[in-house]
């Protein structure tokens, strides 16, 4: 059977009305939230409250004014910064990756990562942009199985792919140290990276990640983690924290955001940021970020929000994560701000370099099928039997050309 739309239609209608109600409810709350946000004009008071939360070990996950370290070095929390002039020249690199997960039903057990870095020479119209791809096939037992001999989880493949992305980004940036500066190195997604328990060699992988970050830091590259359409609640969490008495700042209380439950930072930022604006630099409060800072203070992750839309469009937000070596350099911030906006004008609110990096990295279904075929041919050439899963074969049979028999 296929998806029976008549059975799902009423659920879709219900979903539409629920979301519309949520949106209108959020709009009603906007004024109250906005007023509370605009009252956050005392960075010292915000930091004091955050220190209370830290002392109470309350698990606060909000935003602190940045970049610091002194209060007077922090940007006004409620400020919006207009688009600065764009550098005439620069080299923008973006990394992205995709993967084929290990398939126990496939004819052979392997996984593949395909990492792409796309290099764009801003301001040099004659220079051809450079797509670089690096596919890697993993088929050895120690690459495919964990210590207990189980096939590694998809999350472990994702983790390795993310690290390869950062490594390739670092290598390609390093190779272009003589190219036009600034060097803007963009990673798709957050920079704050950590590994779950399902990743067996997590410590080694984290070392690799930090080593790559270190290379970018040594190059003074403008490293950026780009998060499109963020749904983060760091500012909302800070607003909530600021409304609590000191003795009410507990882990239990910080598990909600009270009357702002269900809201995220977009409700404020869409109102605050005009086309091209960025928010103040903020620092995410989390144990992961502390771990980054403990390794190297320059690697603590800060962020700002940006409105990537043109003047005639509705606001469109991204969260731009930057390491502290970028955050503390006002020139670097202006370069990141203006060049990202410039990129987003080419492809309409999303950086062209990331669009192309994704396109170069993605492994499409037909490419996966062709790769499987090549592997099978190679196995047969080496007198190895190609054992296909009956489950997989039947899925292919049942899904191909599915249609209802209508009789003669």
């Amino acid at each position: 059977m296929t998806l029976e739309f008549d059975k799902v239609y009423h659920q879709i209608a219900q979903m539409g009305s629920t979301l519309a109600f949520r949106e209108s409810a959020a709009a009603e709350r906007l004024q109250a939230v906005w007023d509370r946000f605009m009252a956050l004009n005392d960075n010292e008071a915000i930091w004091e409250k955050i220190m209370v939360a830290r002392n109470h070990d309350a698990g606060f996950r909000g935003a602190a004014p940045g970049p610091g370290p002194l209060i007077e070095d922090c940007e006004p929390f409620t400020a919006a910064f207009a688009l600065p002039p764009c550098p005439e020249r620069g080299t923008i690199l973006a990394a992205d990756g995709s993967q084929i997960y290990p398939d126990p039903h496939g004819s052979s057990l392997y996984y593949l990562t395909n990492i792409a870095v796309f290099v764009y020479h801003h301001g040099d119209e004659g220079a051809l942009p450079e797509p670089i791809t690096e596919p890697q096939l993993f088929y050895q037992d120690d690459e495919l199985k964990d210590r207990e001999g189980r096939i590694i989880a998809n999350a472990a493949v994702n983790a390795r792919r993310s690290i390869f992305e950062m490594q390739l980004l670092a290598r390609e940036t390093w190779q272009r140290n003589e190219a036009a500066h600034p060097l803007i190195s963009i990673s798709d997604g957050p920079l704050l990276f950590w590994l779950g328990k399902e990743v067996s060699n997590a410590a080694e992988l984290m070392d690799n990640y930090h080593e790559a970050m270190g290379i970018l830091g040594d190059l003074d590259a403008r490293l950026v983690g780009y998060v499109d359409q963020p749904r983060s609640r760091f500012v909302i969490n800070t607003l909530y924290l600021m409304g609590l008495e000191d003795d009410a700042i507990t882990r239990q209380n910080l598990m909600t955001t009270g009357d702002m439950e269900g809201l995220d930072d977009r409700i404020i930022m869409r109102h605050l940021l005009r086309a091209g604006d960025r928010s103040a630099i903020m620092i995410q409060q989390s144990p992961q970020n502390k771990a980054f800072k403990d390794i190297d203070e320059a690697r603590e992750i800060a962020f700002f929000y940006m409105n990537l839309s043109s003047t005639y469009q509705d606001p469109y937000l991204a969260r731009v994560e930057i390491p502290m070596w970028v955050a503390k350099n006002p020139t670097a911030i202006d370069q990141v701000h203006s060049l990202l906006y410039s990129q987003c004008q080419i492809t309409d609110r999303y950086p062209y370099v990331l669009t192309r990096a994704d396109e170069c990295a993605v492994v499409r279904g037909h490419e996966k099928a062709a790769l499987n075929e090549m592997i099978q041919v190679e196995l047969l050439k080496n007198q190895l039997s190609v054992e296909t899963s009956q489950k997989l074969a039947m899925k292919v049979v049942s899904r191909y050309g599915r249609q209802q028999h209508t009789g003669v």
């Binding site: 764009y120 020479h121 040099d124 119209e125 004659g126 220079a127 051809l128 942009p129 450079e130 797509p131 004008q345 080419i346 492809t347 309409d348 062209y352 669009t355 192309r356 396109e359």
Partner: protein, 197 residues
């Protein structure tokens, strides 16, 4: 023969074939040009055809770039030179060459997928167009713009000859067309205007 590969066969039949190429490799093929595929199956057979359509499909990214309206030279070069924008060239078969002889009938078998497709050089075009028997094939082929294709092919064939021979070739081709289209004067008139030297 100077071999200028313009693409490879995507799909084919005895009536014609489609070949694929990349957008940055499409300087040579033009409407009405003579192309051939080389194919061995016991005997060497060169299937000769005429290009009757060149198609470049759009894709969502190209649409997005056009809508955003901030396109620059670097982006255009990236799209044209780095991205594998597929170009599809449609060819109608008008004959074949075997053992050095040209035959103006449909080939005995179609080219095979991924066979390279070459531009016919001047010598090949001159040799193939010594006779005009392929005109009927072109004029009777459905789903192609017959008159325009016929005229373009005749002009290509004329250009493959030395300048002093071109006028005579066009006049002779026109006479052959008059024989074939004597029953359809408006069509003949249109064609003769198109190939008028």
């Amino acid at each position: 023969m100077e071999e200028q590969v313009i693409g490879r066969v995507l799909r084919s039949s005895t009536m014609g074939f489609a070949c694929g190429t990349r957008s940055n490799e499409m300087e040579l093929p033009s409407f009405g040009a003579f192309v051939m595929t080389h194919h061995y199956n016991g005997t060497d057979v060169d299937v000769v055809g005429l290009i009757y359509a060149i198609r470049i499909d759009d894709d969502p990214l190209v649409r997005q770039l056009i809508m955003a309206n901030h396109i620059n030279t670097a982006t255009i070069r990236d799209q044209r030179e780095n991205r594998m924008v597929p170009v599809e060239i449609s060819v109608v078969n008008v004959g074949y060459r075997m053992n050095g002889e040209s035959h103006h009938i449909l080939p005995p078998r179609p080219p095979i997928s991924l066979d390279p497709v070459y531009m016919c050089d001047d010598q090949c075009v001159r040799s193939f167009t010594q006779k005009f028997d392929f005109f009927r094939l072109v004029l009777n082929t459905s789903e192609v713009p017959n008159e325009e294709l016929m005229a373009a092919a005749i002009k290509h064939a004329a250009q493959a000859r030395p300048p002093r021979e071109q006028r005579e070739f066009l006049v002779t081709a026109g006479r052959r067309l008059a024989q074939l289209l004597g029953h359809d004067l408006p069509r003949l008139n249109h064609l003769l205007r198109l190939i008028k030297p």
